[in-house]
């Protein structure tokens, strides 16, 4: 009589619930909190090291500005480009979505290329001093994220070959790739501020 959970009375109407809604976007957002803290930890370590040095960056390890600025503008605009892709899929226009995603991936690749070019022309390496340590580890770690982002975008493009895989109603993968790309972009802005702008002024 004291039973509290009587399933049999409602068995007929109850939802069998073998399917549940797609929580992948939510899962990604929660995961990105964790990712932010990973970058947060790096930024904190960087700022602490910076605070301990009178001259930062130490002589001989100044940063380049031209290529990185171009790179920044490129990455920033790629966020708009990828958004057009998202808008397109919401209109059920898979072809445009593919087009915008290709462009985004290409912009990401150029960004990485620019990064590599910068590494090759800077004149100092990972081991030169603590600033160089930070510079390479932070930009490298971010570059890794850009690379993963490009892979996600290419994955979306690959899957969209099949007609009907993505549609106006069903495009979680497209959205996830976009969110991740924006995240990578936001991290870059902070990184650019810390490593480039604030070392110059």
């Amino acid at each position: 009589m004291q039973g509290t959970i009587d399933s049999q009375t409602t068995a007929i109407t109850a939802d069998h619930g073998h399917e549940h809604p797609d929580f992948r976007v939510l899962g990604l957002l929660v995961f990105l909190i964790s990712e932010s803290l990973m970058f947060g930890g790096l930024f904190a370590a960087y700022l602490l090291l910076r605070g301990m040095h009178a001259q930062w960056p130490p002589e001989g390890t100044e940063v380049e500005l031209l290529v990185p600025t171009i790179n920044t503008l490129l990455l920033l605009s790629s966020s708009f480009v990828i958004h057009y892709g998202d808008v397109a899929i919401k209109r059920d226009d898979v072809r445009s979505m593919r087009k915008w995603y290709w462009i985004t991936a290409a912009m990401g690749a150029v960004f990485l290329g620019g990064q590599v070019y910068e590494y090759l022309t800077l004149g100092y390496g990972l081991r030169t001093n603590v600033f160089a340590n930070c510079f390479y580890v932070m930009t490298g770690f971010h570059g890794l994220h850009v690379f993963v982002g490009i892979l996600l975008i290419l994955g979306v493009i690959w899957r969209s070959r099949r007609p009907g895989h993505y549609s106006a109603q069903k495009h979680t993968g497209v959205t996830m790739a976009e969110i991740y790309w924006h995240f990578v972009d936001v991290i870059w802005i902070i990184l650019f501020t810390l490593l480039y702008i604030l070392t110059r002024f």
């Binding site: 009589m1 004291q2 039973g3 509290t4 959970i5 009587d6 399933s7 049999q8 009375t9 409602t10 068995a11 109850a14 939802d15 069998h16 619930g17 073998h18 549940h20 809604p21 929580f23 992948r24 939510l26 899962g27 929660v30 995961f31 909190i33 964790s34 990712e35 803290l37 990973m38 947060g40 930890g41 790096l42 904190a44 370590a45 602490l48 090291l49 301990m52 040095h53 130490p58 990972l126 081991r127 001093n129 603590v130 340590n133 930070c134 580890v137």
Partner: protein
């Protein structure tokens, strides 16, 4: 009379699904949360035995003042890996991965976790990580303590240290993925009829735990990756002679590793909140207070980490600020303890193995908590930091607390997991031995620390020999206490008394399905009409039923 009335035996056969898993399914990339839970529990338990053997070796060494049993470097390797294994490969995976995965979907009326494949992936990061850790002994084993402070960690057994770092980063990744899964599952997948204040407290605890793991683990990963770079790639983040700083590591490390204490105890608090009401036959006292105190611990717990660094390179204001924040955490923890004690009041307490371990936990955690308060204040901590007083404290919290809680959980849910009861006589023997062993081993350590014995030493001042000898005897008692437990589990798994769906008369949803539960847990999802702790409360018929069901 107040046993919950359970749903009728439901036919398990769901079209298109296997009826039950075969033994070999437990060795595969299976996505069933119950399989994953068992995988975690069994793997973790094996590591518990390995870590325990290391402890026995260390206590044997410490029976005498001289370094005469283990090579001191091997002693440090055992010390380091004992801590690492017990934290990262036993308590965290058993409590969060094991009980969390097994119970959360069952308790909220879900068929599985939100991301089953991610869940399996998270588990399968553990065995290679464990193998890496054990393989590091081929290179001498990491010897810089589980804290791995540079510069020591950058110059001692560096190959093993690098393997250690990779192992921790792997399990860290696993725990971040797990946390994402738990947060989304608990947030979104409760059966619709369950209101938030009907969510079992174990799930509240898992939510708080996961939030903590989510924000703290990545910071540890950063700290360790920078360490890895320093060791292997010639960077100097932590090299003072090249512009780096060793204190930064300590901040990154403890920003994770203080919350890690809560990762190890919050799920256990959750287990306590489930076990005590069932066996005391009473509603949990102060449901809201317990639920909110978990969240409070989770928030405040992120801002106390410097209490591990009171004698390190920390300026005075930091020492004072973190003294006060640490003291504050004691309040929500106290609220929980008082609530559980109050739950016992006026109950009809079944003193079976599960309840004995829960009550044993309560009693020992009080001591661990109180010594924690003394450690949290800078003036006293300056004297006892890095001494056996600390060792005593955290073993009361982590052995008397976490391990007792895991045992309580195993005795409580073993019938659900296997369909069979554990033997009570062996269970009580196990409890008595464990309780005596724990206190014999760890109580005298308080005195050792206060009187002047540092921790992490293979050789010590001979004046401490008598007390150390008592600790060593206690450790052997603890080692033997495992034997009745092992016999019990191995025997009962196949031959134990059939448990039935709900041997304890529990009211939370996991008891509404069969034991063991079928794949996908229920044929028809249960409907919640009342809270999970409404023991002794007359069912309010009619009027309230309708509006509660929707």
């Amino acid at each position: 009379m107040a046993q919950a009335q359970l749903p009728l035996e439901t036919p398990l056969s769901l079209p298109g699904h296997p009826k039950a898993w075969k033994w070999y399914d437990y060795f595969t990339f299976n996505v069933d949360h119950k399989v994953i839970g068992i995988q975690y529990l069994v793997t973790a338990f094996i590591f518990y035995l390995i870590g325990g053997l290391m402890a026995v070796a260390m206590r044997t060494e410490l029976a005498t003042a001289d370094s005469d049993f283990l090579n001191p470097n091997l002693y440090n390797a055992f010390m380091t890996n004992h801590g690492t294994i017990m934290i990262f490969f036993w308590v965290v995976p058993a409590a969060i991965g094991g009980f969390g995965n097994y119970l959360v979907p069952l308790m909220i009326g879900a068929r599985d976790m939100a991301f089953p494949r991610l869940n399996a992936l998270a588990f399968w990061l553990n065995p290679p990580a464990g193998a890496l850790l054990l393989a590091s002994f081929l290179f001498g084993g990491a010897q810089a303590g589980w804290t791995a402070y540079p510069p020591l960690s950058t110059i001692t057994a560096t190959t093993a240290q690098s393997m250690w770092i990779l192992a921790i980063v792997l399990v860290g990744t696993s725990s971040i993925l797990g946390a994402v899964n738990f947060i989304v599952t608990i947030w979104k997948m409760k059966v619709p009829s369950m209101r938030w204040n009907q969510l079992p407290l174990f799930c509240w605890a898992m939510l708080a735990t996961s939030l903590l793991a989510l924000v703290s683990t990545p910071v540890l990963a950063v700290g360790l990756i920078l360490l890895l770079f320093d060791i292997n790639f010639g960077t100097s983040f932590y090299r003072p002679d090249a512009g780096g700083n060793v204190i930064i590591y300590q901040h990154l490390f403890w920003f994770y590793s203080h919350p890690a204490v809560y990762l190890m105890i919050l799920p256990i608090f959750g287990i306590m909140s489930e076990v005590i009401p069932v066996h005391a036959r009473k509603p949990i006292f102060g449901y809201q207070a317990i639920a909110y105190s978990s969240l409070a611990i989770c928030c405040v717990g992120l801002f106390v980490w410097v209490h591990h660094m009171f004698t390190s390179g920390t300026p005075p204001w930091m020492r004072m600020f973190f003294t006060i924040s640490t003291l504050i955490v004691a309040v929500p923890t106290g609220v929980k303890i008082f609530s559980w004690v109050a739950t016992l009041w006026g109950g009809k307490i079944r003193l079976n193995s599960a309840m004995l371990f829960a009550i044993g936990l309560l009693s020992m955690f009080v001591l661990g908590g109180l010594s924690g308060v003394t450690l949290g204040t800078a003036p006293v901590d300056i004297h006892v930091h890095d001494t056996y007083y600390v060792v005593a404290h955290f073993h009361y919290v982590l052995f008397g607390g976490s391990v007792f809680g895991l045992y309580a959980g195993i005795y409580h849910w073993f019938p659900k997991i296997t369909g069979r009861l554990l033997d009570e006589r062996l269970g009580i023997l196990h409890f008595v031995l464990t309780f005596i062993g724990t206190n014999l081993t760890f109580l005298p350590m308080h005195e050792l620390g206060l009187k002047g014995m540092p921790r992490r030493v293979a050789m010590y001042d001979p004046q401490f020999e008598p007390i150390n000898f008592i600790c060593t005897i206690g450790a052997f008692v603890l080692a033997f206490s495992i034997i009745p437990f092992l016999i019990n589990v191995l025997w009962s798994w196949n031959k134990g008394k059939i448990a039935g769906d709900n041997p304890w008369g529990g009211l939370s949803l996991e008891w509404t399905t069969s034991s063991p539960p079928p794949i996908e847990n229920w044929e028809v999802l249960p409907v919640v009409t009342k809270g999970p702790y409404d023991y002794g409360i007359e069912q309010r018929k009619g009027s309230t039923n309708e509006n509660e069901e929707e």
